[in-house]
Symmetry: C2
Subunit: 101 residues, 2 copies
């Protein structure tokens, strides 16, 4: 397919694993394993997702010994989360848009 930058951008928020990753990093940087443990998912799954998210600059990476430390691009991600949280709270019956199907 030929995704433009905007589609790719939003795709990096539009799934549970990626959102879990974002929230796990909200309080500060973590290594891959730390993220995986924190949200209870496999390392490989996390790695694949981290890749796309940092390709799109939603995340920053930094090597520290054997580990890679990932952190949020807070300038973009935090305002984004605030927007969604506000929207969901005010527009979506306090907790859930009607489920698709």
């Amino acid at each position: 397919m030929k995704c433009n930058a905007y589609e790719i951008f939003f795709m990096n928020f539009a799934n549970k694993t990626k959102l879990d990753i974002i929230y796990s990093l909200r309080e500060g940087p973590l290594s891959v394993l730390e993220i995986a443990q924190k949200i209870g998912e496999e390392q490989s799954k996390i790695s694949h997702n981290l890749r796309k998210m940092s390709e799109c600059r939603l995340l920053n990476v930094e090597q520290r010994g054997k580990q890679r430390i990932y952190s949020l691009n807070r300038e973009t991600v935090i305002p984004m989360l605030e927007l969604v949280e506000k929207h969901v709270k005010t527009c979506c019956c306090a907790g859930g848009c009607s489920k698709l199907k």
Copy 2:
């Protein structure tokens, strides 16, 4: 599946048709056919997308005669677009995140 409100929210931005719809409505409300013509897609395709987007309150609907007039929930959508545009401009090499794959 069991999508939470946040996933659903972002899914409603994360595809070309939906983004096209959003941009077609940026300057003002339109009917279904007007949207379809403006972006060159089938009516049915547009309708399906409009449904999900308004379920999630990204769009407002209003009946006017035979037509249904759709408009942006500007309070949420406009700031969202500004965020992405800024991000893509500053972080993604002026035009494109590295393509997935």
